[in-house]
């Protein structure tokens, strides 16, 4: 009749099992990255980080209007990929425009994993389609703020996860009246991760693009650049790092160009060009600047 | 000839092998009995003789391993066999969160008694067992004796023709016992049949028409109380002790 302690313990055990089930997708992603880390260690040691990852994923699920592969779909696709694309390498990473935002990078990355809905194999699956989301859509413009609560919680859970801040600020900045909040959130992130070049870049770009505050933008962006160079050398070589360097350089170049410091601007464009997958575009901008400098000089001389 | 109300033919009940023993427990071993309409029948035997088991078979709680059990000529496997009986278990507990009145109403519904009629009966039974002052309180506030009285009232809700009572007076105070005896007497006067087990041989002697004495699942003696007393020329208690082979031991 009455709940005995034993019984409550059993119930709690069940709840934790179910939580584990809920968190399994995230755990899987993590252990893929970390490779050798045991599940138990993750559960005990970085439980908070696991939760943070989970909530971050939650925001991503909202972005896709609930259309999201389960761990089983992911596993299946991984299998198929392994079979059919064994020879293909991950070359596509460098293709993005340097201005493309981080969140979109990440999206483009798994966007191709989003056609997980296959022909149903049996009547259960076919009938089940009535009760699942089978259409790949994204949150409508203006609705994107629905993702924010999860990002907020993710930041609470793991203040060291930089992507949370950059992603949230990206969506906040989309609405003009919320730039202030985006800035606040980025500053909070920087308080927790003072050396993060990604956060500095994001903040600089906010000052430059949304607040037209060139001076502050320049300061922050320069800090981003030095933070990038202060990275340990092994984390400078991956695609993501190189792409970030390119974006910092190009943004700095634009800031300087807008302030009329063409020489500085050209210097930064040159830096950007060395790491860009599309150096021709940057070269064009450099040429343009050179011309401006030249005509400026001519004007100066005439005076 | 009078209608046979309880009929046992060669009844056998084996309990499956319990832990700590290697053979199934034979609780009732070839028991045959016949209780006729209007009788008050005493079912006697020492502890563990198989009385409760026999009653459990009659009520369908336990399945007979062999033989036959009938109530009003209907096999006890048919639930309808229990339409005309009232039952008071040895140890009774009822839904603690219900009041006496709600419990009686619930059982009345189960019997399919109409609402008006049920109201009338509930009223009468609550008066009979003297629970008027507590009839609307939940049972968890009742004393053991009060719960026992609820048990008696529920056994009578369908105005049964046969009452099966397993040690109805155990746990009751002298007034309660008196009350139960009065009720049995009254039912007998109304022509009802009562089948009950008891260890109170004095009580049995005063209210029963016939008795059966069982031991180790087997019938040892059966007959009218008066006949038995005449046959053995001694009290019922001595007859009982002799039949189960009890020898007084010297206490050293």
């Amino acid at each position: 009749m009455h709940a005995s302690p034993k019984w409550i313990v059993a119930l709690l055990a069940t709840l934790s099992v179910s939580l584990a089930t809920l968190l399994a997708p995230t755990a899987q992603q993590r252990s893929e990255k970390r490779g050798t880390d045991g599940f138990l260690k993750i559960m005990l040691g970085d439980g908070r980080r696991l939760f943070a990852k989970h909530f971050f994923t939650k925001a991503d699920i909202y972005f896709h209007s609930g259309y999201y592969p389960s761990i089983f779909d992911q596993a299946n696709q991984a299998n198929q990929k392994a079979i059919t694309h064994a020879d293909e390498d991950d070359h596509h990473d460098g293709k993005e425009d340097h201005d493309a935002h981080h969140h979109e990078d990440h999206d483009a990355d798994h966007e191709e994993g989003m056609d997980f809905v296959k022909e149903p194999r049996d009547w259960i699956e076919r009938f089940g389609r009535n009760f699942t989301i089978n259409q790949h859509t994204h949150l409508a413009e203006g609705k994107q703020r629905e993702m924010l609560p999860w990002l907020r919680i993710a930041a609470e859970m793991d203040p060291q996860m930089v992507t949370t801040y950059t992603t949230a600020s990206y969506w906040l900045r989309k609405e003009k009246n919320r730039v202030g909040e985006a800035r606040q959130f980025l500053l909070e992130g920087l308080r927790n991760n003072p050396k993060s070049d990604e956060l500095l870049f994001e903040l600089g770009s906010l000052y430059y693009n949304d607040m037209a505050d060139t001076n502050r933008a320049r300061n922050v962006m320069t800090s981003a650049l030095s933070a990038w160079f202060a990275r340990p050398s092994q984390s400078k070589t991956n695609n993501e790092a190189i792409s970030l360097l390119g974006r910092i350089a190009v943004n700095l170049a634009r800031i300087e160009r807008d302030s009329g410091n063409y020489v500085e601007a050209i210097r930064y464009f040159e830096l950007g060009k060395t790491v860009s997958p599309t150096p021709e575009g940057i070269q064009a901008q450099i040429d343009q600047l050179r011309q401006n400098t030249f005509s400026n000089d001519v004007q100066n001389i005439r005076k | 000839m009078m209608e046979s109300v309880v009929q046992l033919k060669n009844l056998r009940v084996e309990y499956p092998i319990a832990s700590g023993s290697s053979v199934p427990k034979l609780a009732v071993n070839g028991l045959s009995l016949d209780v006729r309409q209007g009788e008050v029948f005493g079912f006697l035997g020492p502890n563990g003789a198989g009385k409760t088991t026999t009653m459990n078979v009659l009520l369908g709680f336990v399945n007979a391993t062999g033989g036959e059990a009938r109530l009003f000529g209907v096999n006890v496997r048919e639930p309808i066999a229990r339409q005309r009986i009232g039952y008071l278990p040895e140890l009774t507990y009822y839904y603690k969160f219900l009041s006496a009145e709600e419990i009686l109403r619930f059982y009345a519904k189960v019997f399919g008694i109409e609402r008006m009629e049920a109201d009338r009966r509930i009223d009468r039974l609550i008066k009979l067992v003297e629970l008027e002052h507590a009839s609307k309180r939940p049972l968890k506030s009742y004393s053991k004796g009060m719960q026992q009285r609820v048990g008696l009232a529920q056994a009578l809700i369908n105005n049964p023709d046969l009452l099966i009572l397993d040690e109805p007076t155990s746990g009751l105070d002298p007034i309660g016992r008196m009350k139960v005896r009065e009720i049995i007497q009254r039912l007998k006067n109304e022509g009802k049949t009562v089948f009950f087990s008891s260890h109170e041989l004095g009580e049995v002697e005063t209210v029963c028409d016939r008795v059966a004495i069982v031991h180790q699942g087997q019938l040892r003696e059966e007959g009218r109380v008066a006949d038995l007393l005449a046959k053995y020329k001694t009290g019922l208690e001595q007859i009982f002790l002799d039949l189960i082979g009890y020898k007084p031991q010297a206490i050293t």
Binding site: K6, Y62, N130, P149 | R82, Y93, Y107, V110, G151
Partner: protein, 259 residues
């Protein structure tokens, strides 16, 4: 039918006279309201996360209420010996099983209505609209699934008479069936032979409770399944619950009960 109904009302009466039931009800309601008053980024037009949290709470609470109530019924009747006066009446054990099922299922329905009313107030206050039809569909499907869950817990309670382990096992089964069950078909394809067929058969045999969980569709403002699909799903659940109840009865029917 009278008897079944009478037995089920006793179940409901017991539930609403128990304190722990109120604790869960009040707790869920409070948590729902607390979640409702949360605001992120000074924003009170955000509804999806709120809906999600509330629906998760409702989902867990109703599962707890359904399973614990159903798992307790028959064992507590035996333990408290209330089954004896009941079965001494002209009551079949099938009626007992059915009455218990009906009582637990109706109790689930009542709690769902309470929960959804609070949920509706909350969502209505934020969105200034109340999609009553969608709410009704969501609730109906959840209630239908709870029918299967209750029947499962009843079956468990006549096999494992201790309510604790039975409830725990039911939880694990229900969660497993909801989260892993739908994917067993896919997983079985990649397996080697006896295991693959075995898994695929399990996939066909388990109840597909994931169909009745429309939370994601609702939260993400996608289109809820049509009435025909819901009707079919209801039919499937009814058939499944009936099967479980028949199994319960088959097991309970010949059980010896010792006073």
């Amino acid at each position: 039918m009278n008897t079944v109904w009478a037995i089920s009302t006793v179940v409901i009466k017991e539930l609403y006279r128990r304190k722990d039931f109120y604790v869960l009800l009040v707790l869920t309601t409070l948590l729902t309201l607390a979640a409702g008053s949360m605001s992120f980024f000074n924003e009170n037009t955000i509804v999806r996360a709120l809906k999600e949290i509330c629906l998760l709470l409702i989902w867990i609470s109703s599962l707890i209420i359904g399973i614990t109530t159903a798992a307790r019924q028959i064992p507590s009747e035996k333990e408290n010996r209330t089954i004896f006066p009941l079965l001494a009446k002209p009551v079949t054990r099938w009626q007992v099983v059915l009455g218990k099922f009906l009582g637990c299922w109706l109790a689930c329905g009542i709690t769902l209505i309470v929960f959804y009313v609070f949920f509706g107030i909350l969502v209505g206050a934020r969105e200034h609209t109340l999609p009553v039809a969608a709410f009704a569909k969501l609730m109906w499907m959840q209630w239908v699934a709870l029918g299967v869950v209750v029947a499962l817990a009843l079956l468990g309670s006549v096999v494992l008479s201790a309510p604790g382990p039975n409830a725990t096992l039911c939880f694990i089964v229900v969660l497993g069936v909801t989260f892993v069950g739908p994917h067993l078909g896919k997983v079985s394809v990649g397996l080697t032979e006896p295991a693959g067929t075995l898994l695929y058969s399990i996939y066909f045999l388990i109840p597909h409770l994931e169909w009745y969980d429309l939370r994601d569709i609702f939260i993400n403002d996608q289109i809820l399944p049509g009435n025909a699909a819901c009707f079919m799903a209801t039919f499937y659940a009814a058939a499944y619950a009936t099967l479980l109840l028949v199994l319960t009865w088959a097991r309970f029917r010949r059980q010896n009960l010792n006073t």
